[in-house]
Subunit: 313 residues, 4 copies
């Protein structure tokens, strides 16, 4: 497996996750599809080489989507094929694909549909996003395992139990933040967590914590970013007299509310809406905007470059 240099001037953000990759391989025996994500400098012959590679190994392409950024000279692709009949040992995909990847200086990642990412949900007292994610997961909308819930409050334990998800209560105070983050990281490692979802967690993670999970922490912010970043966005939207309120799901980086935006949506308000109405209306937005981001992430539909997301939906 190979991760090549990117064109100068372009922050390249397709990250190599060895643990994710090897776990996938072990469970690839059952019927499944493979998803290949590629970023590289745009060149002639790219698509032909990729398609030819799959065809030579009897891969039946189910979906393919690509994007070219002509200004940056960048090529991005998501290609999914049926593994039944595929003549390569998928565990040795990297070794075979290396020649193609090297020739075109590709950064790439392979995911297998039957390898479900392991997800932790961080939550405070607010329960609307949590209950929405648990319900969607149960009804089959989210192709992941929800391995555990971590909260600084006890309130949502009963809900977690209803859905059969382990619930860890880790109370937070100013003094113990570093300690609690240490405990959280230990839990994440024990459960082999691939994705952290901040479902209205209301706490700022330390830069050290954030750095440990690049492009693997999704947050929901209750405003139309970059408007009203930081605290109390509904209050500030109310004061400013906006006519629409929004919600934004994004990857968490070290800078608050500055990471790549995954999804946004808005809803209309009027002078008739009190601050409380904004909060109520916003809940529906937050649920939908966060769950879309989680779904796209666990289905390997998101590529990143230049601090922006490409969504191959």
């Amino acid at each position: 497996m190979s991760a090549r240099e990117t064109p100068a001037g372009c922050r390249f953000e397709l990250v190599y996750h060895p643990t994710l990759f090897f776990r996938e391989i072990q469970t690839a025996a059952v019927k499944s599809t493979a998803i290949l994500l590629i970023s590289c400098p745009d060149q002639k012959g790219l698509v032909a080489a990729i398609a030819d590679f799959l065809y030579r190994h009897n891969g039946n392409i189910l979906h393919a989507d690509q994007h070219q950024d002509s200004e940056l000279g960048l090529f991005l692709m998501r290609i999914e094929w049926d593994l039944s009949g595929f003549s390569l040992d998928i565990a040795r995909f990297g070794a075979h694909f290396a020649a193609v990847a090297d020739r075109f200086q590709m950064a790439w990642r392979l995911a297998l549909s039957n390898q479900r990412p392991r997800v932790v949900i961080f939550v405070s007292k607010y329960d609307h996003c949590l209950i929405d994610l648990l319900y969607r997961h149960q009804s089959g909308e989210l192709a992941c395992d929800i391995s555990l819930i971590i909260s600084n409050h006890e309130e949502n334990r009963r809900l977690a139990e209803f859905y059969g998800v382990p619930y860890h209560y880790l109370p937070l105070a100013k003094e113990n933040k570093a300690e609690v983050e240490q405990t959280q990281q230990t839990l994440l490692a024990q459960h082999g967590i691939d994705l952290i979802v901040l479902a209205r967690y209301m706490q700022v993670l330390s830069a050290e914590f954030t750095a440990g999970y690049p492009q693997r922490i999704i947050n929901i912010h209750h405003s139309f970013l970059p408007a009203f970043l930081g605290a109390k966005p509904y209050h500030r939207a109310f004061e400013r007299g906006v006519k629409l309120i929004g919600a934004t799901s994004h990857y968490v980086t070290e800078i608050l509310d500055d990471g790549p935006i995954i999804e946004q949506d808005v809803i209309r308000i009027s002078h008739r809406d009190a601050l409380e109405d904004l909060i109520h209306k916003g809940r529906d937005l937050e649920k939908i905007v966060l769950s879309r981001a989680v779904r796209w992430h666990v289905e390997n539909r998101i590529l990143l470059y230049a601090n922006k997301t490409v969504i191959f939906d």
Copy 2:
């Protein structure tokens, strides 16, 4: 006519426009409706007093809308009635209504539907908002007169002539801005202008100019304010990687892009949209968002308080 004090802590912005009022009176002879806009401290008996006043003078109420801000203890109302059969001389409305207004400390304004506000459009080279306003005006959607167009470019003269609107070309440079604004104000006075519409004018008006037309200058900003205020909002939206772009119409105050928001709307974009696509998609938003603001203003549907608009639509 009376403009009373407002509750402490509440910026009160219902403004007395004597020229507007008196011109209205002269043309009130033809069949028309009257619109009364009221702001005052919320008190028992308010609605009864207003409704009783109209009933005693045989006024047939056609529309009534009100809003109470319970936190500020403020009452706002728009009430429209048929003037046919109304037993008061509308030119002496103020004298008769004074007793009610004084009792409840009302700030109020009377408008007559057959008195069309006189509007000037300021425009640069960009023509999409201009053509949209001219078309809507011609088709009867905007109950105003478009008295003249002022531009710092010659490009839109032919369009103005097509619609029969006088076109004033006032070229702008850094050195002559004060002089040009002086000429503009003279033109505005000559035409008895009630409302200035900045239809992508792309120039910042001086604080002196702005101060002369409180709540009588409407601008269209090509972002979802308060995100991307100032210059080049589409460029910055593109760089930030937002998933929706917006447009905002607002009253102009001395602080750039900070005035009360009248209307906002958004449209979805994706990674497939280049900067140019944002600009194209944004045009449709800008047209609709600006024309709604102009329509509500000329129909006397907008009340202001606490730097926010109440739209009685």
Copy 3:
């Protein structure tokens, strides 16, 4: 209490519910507001008379909204006032208000905010609307009591128990429909039910059943009515190749999917969406569109005329 004749040619649908009214009166002791809903022929002096009546009895108006249909000559109003300080015995409101109501031929209804309507939810196996209503109720968004759940399946019992709502399993077959409806009606009477919510119940109620609860049954239909009325709307939307799918909440009448529409919304789809994606995307619509209807109904915000709803939101 009085229900007068309506203008000729206008189906008048403000219905007298004696049980609802009297139960309200008994619990009106605690701090609360009163809501008066009025429909009558439009006449001069109406608003003055109503406002004066409330003012004379020291009623502090909190919200008032009205609508005039000039073609039908109809006046509709919703007015809400604070009961603290109100000098009338609210249990005898009708006797006092009769003079005003008679003079203007009003159909009217009084509701008290502290009198929460009793609601039954009818549900099949589909659980997304049920869980959404239960969650919103628990979080305080719905000002009603959810007294019981009736289902022709056992699947949702555990969910009902989580929220502490009695669950009645009444299996349905072609042969026993009349019998089951009899049992349902008995349960409804026992619980003093005011509103029936069909939360994807998937069964057509008999005309006799429907007739017993005029304007008191709300259904969610998974299309943008009147498109795709009847069975399998998502399948038919998929076949027709529409670019948006919708959901519609409406009052149930004897004619299938023909009752007054309360709320509608849509979501964009594309050729990439399989039938299953339509069903998934539609779920979010259905939840939101149904819950808005229930909220407006229990807050007494809906008036009906000419088979249409007026929503005083």
Copy 4:
């Protein structure tokens, strides 16, 4: 050039237009891109074969988008490449591509970006869609030539002249419909028209006329189809009490308002909106929904199958 059989059970609608194709060839000398549209049974090796063909002739792919319908076993593709450096004589593309096309039983069509389709606009008295198309064309949003305007009224001649487009007034009556259609067809032939846009033409074309321009007539219908097909959709939407009104652009087939839907959008209305407001609000929808359809068509972004459109935007 080859048009192959389609999978059984699938109405296949990629049509061979010899005149379109040959005119394109003559003007292909200037710098341009080529767009290849393909429909065929889904098979392994398809993408590899197409990409390899372009690579062997030094084609630099700029955009590629594909869609698979797994139920019908159908593969659809739009692929665009830079012609500068392309080593094939584009006028002989068909001869060279035949081997690939035959092997996979492709129906295909080639378009050249520098070959602008020739468009006629049919219009009645209503001018809002006409003015919108003319404006967008002038501002560069529509990559086509607007060759002429045909109307059964004189009203829009001045507008046509402003934009420099020939205007043909062909008054219509019941008696002369066949004759007028004959004249229209002669005009279309003389101008080498590729696309007919019915911009609120308000007349039903005969089946014979329609049959002569398969997938080359775009209509705007002022409802959310299939709701309110036929006459007076706004009136019927008003009567039914819908909460959103819509507009639909579609290809015209012999069955009224039944052709493949290209685009739809909606706008919210309320009980406050009179019929006239619906008509006003609908205009903005109609303009946007029609212009999107025309843009996608002239940019060769629309493929058809099973009476549905695939939009590669």
